[in-house]
Amino acid sequence: MTLSPSLVRQLRRAVGAEHVDTGLAETQLFASDGLTLHQARPAGVVYPTSTAEVAAVVAACLAADTPFVARGAGTGLSGGAISDGGVIIQLSRMNQVLDIRPEDRYAVVQPGVVNSYLSLQTRPYGLEFAPDPSSQAACTIGGNVAENAGGPHTLKQGVTVNHVLGQKVVLATGRVASFGGPWHAATGPAFGSFLVGSEGTIAITTEVTVRLVPTPAHVITMLATYEAVGGATDSVSAILAAGILPAALEFIDKLCIQAVEAHLKVGFPTSAAAVLLIELDGDKALNSGQAVTVEALCRDNGASDFRRARSAEERQRLWLGRKHAAGAIGKISPAYYTNDGVVPRSRLTDILTQIYRIGKNYRLQVGNICHAGDGNIHPVILFDPDTADGADRAFACSADILTACLEMGGSLTGEHGIGLEKRDLMPRMYTPADLEQMRRLRDGLNPAGLLNPCKVLPEGARCGEVRGQATLPEGTWI
């Protein structure tokens, strides 16, 4: 698990000696992403600042037959940004917003720009980058592109791929290439769009041109409270069936509500079985009319309380609660496993019922947050890592939940990606021919197999198991 001296020399030449780390303690920091259940320590970490430096690092790794993995903020939740003995290309120093063109509604950014920082920069022009993952205060645009990230507001605005106009990349072969540009709505086959969501296994993004959308001039945020989960999920169907496309339509269940309130006190009703956070944006007159309809539909479907945020602060607090709902679980449980699956919207009630049942089977508590309008569920599985089979039961519980999603016609993931986490479940979703077609493409475009290996597609014996804790030699300083 050490890099060859000649590779270290090449890496130092590429990015400067002070921007190459090979020490145990420094590399251990990169042994997991947001999903700490998978751990693998890289042998080196480099911190480039430009496309040319990334290309030089890639060339050095290819020549030394050493795996390399791009990394943004490491908030990924599928074990995608880790490397067992390879080189992590940490892009946090490539954090510049290079250009903002309000008249043409685009911005050019380096991949290490933090998601919410970009919108902070564009807001003075009345514009924003629409994808808003709950991790937006930390995650990077490069990571968003690699994972095709979503978020609460992607119900109306679409996910990252709908907002990427162009990219500059270093391909797995080391060649620098650009795809797309500042042009909107270019039609025809688009390699750049295929790259979005390819989980950093085909290319490393070094520059992104993103579409900016107008900041909504008028917003209404509402909170509906339910004594039964089914009332909340039925309300979701009723709202969409009424021809209303809210900006966001989010579901939070009792366990997560209680965790949020214990931690942040945003004003969620702790006795409720579930709440729906509903946001409308756009034309003021239209919104006002739709808000009345939404309230009536929620009450018809069993909402015991319904309120509108009366101020920007109140709205912010509600969103704070939603965006920190998974993290708040950390306050009430020693460990938790945030999952991600999708079901057809009409199966939301069914999948939640199944999740509670599956949790019970494994003697685990499961809280739920859903991008309900998208049928995208995030069960949060609470477990104790200090019990002998705590993590194993959490993994098995997760696999059962995802299998239930597939049986309902859904998907293994709506936004967190496959990574290492769900790699071995892919044959449950796709046929051997489907997977072979994907593999031909991935292997053809990543011929040395060194860029982010062992992710996305099941690999059999070729890739080792990296579940569990990576242990440091005793006495190591960290």
Binding site: D104, E147, N148, G158, V161, A177, S178, F179, G181, W183, H184, A185, A186, T187, G188, P189, A190, F191, F194, G197, S198, P214, P216, A217, H218, S237, A241, A242, G243, D283, K284, A285, L286, V342, P344, R345, S346, G375, G409, G410, S411, L412, T413, G414, E415, H416, G417, I418, M426, M429, Y430, T431, A433, D434, E436, Q437, R440, L441, G444, L445
Partner: protein, 372 residues
Amino acid sequence: MTSVATRPGSGPVIQPADRQQVAEGVRQARQTGVSLGAPAADQSWDFSALTAEVLLNPPDMILTAETGHTLAHLKSTAAASGLWLPLDSCHPGPLSLAQYLAEDWSLSWLSQTYGTLRDWVMELSAINDRGEPVRSGARVVKNVAGYHLAPLYIGARHALGPVVEVSLRLIPSPAGLQRVRWSASNPNPLLDIWLQSAQAQRPEGNSNPWVALRLSGAGDRWSLEGLTQLSPDIAKSWADATTRSGPATVDRCAQPADEPALEGRPLLSAHCLPSRLRAVIAAAAEQHLPLVAYPGVGALIVHDGGRGESVQDRALTAWGAVLAAQEGWVRPLAGATLPAGLPRRPDDNAAQLAEVKSILDPDGLFGPMPEL
């Protein structure tokens, strides 16, 4: 069994009755060494019989259809359930999904708000070069499981393999739409209306008043028309206030209206930045090139105005020089042969797609990739 018909003046056309026959056709072609596809292949496809029942469970807001169905049929199927497929085309004449997808005809007056076809395809099923069905994506409105191959297949004229089925995301049909239309003898006042609507003059509380918008014309007959969701009185007063070319026509429409069809044969689509579109349109007007422009996305389609001879290579080349100076580029449509001087897409897309083609169709079974 796959039936083979012959169209007058062209090579054999394969008309599979179902997906199994598409796969069988590919396997046969593989054995006999003929190439399949359009237009330069030995044989071409006619998917009009691929019309198994459209699958739509309205609450799921996802529609699955074989590619023989027409776009119009899919839109009306969605509309019957109060849903909308916000894709359109100015292509003259009805299009099957296979044709729509083969060329990617989805640049339309809806693009500024709803993007293009690749923004709506959630699952795509094709036949690979081994004659096996392959699928990527899922029949849900959000999914990132595995590699999403749809962006490679859309617009590739089935050159990576015939596309036999897609699942499309739908949204609720927008309520209270108005159709607004202005006319003028030159494009400038119409572009002013668009600019004002996009900036200072937008009605209070509305960030983007347009659901759809296009500017079209040639010579001294131009019009700007679109769909807006504003309440009727706001739409009327705003339209009147923003126009210098006389009051607008405002009509209520119960359902989103389709984009008017081109009155000619499309030759190319062109892309520049929205802020450069005025200069590009002015140059087209000077050369009497008939066009449809989509101001919000800085794109336009040049057509032949219904008379092939009205568009001279000389005029296209002169206009192309202005487009190039404005950092724009063109994409030939429907196999049109364009003069060499027109600027082409300045990125590495075509080279990389050639690589994809060599990976997924190493024997060139499916005919060449279209020129991009």
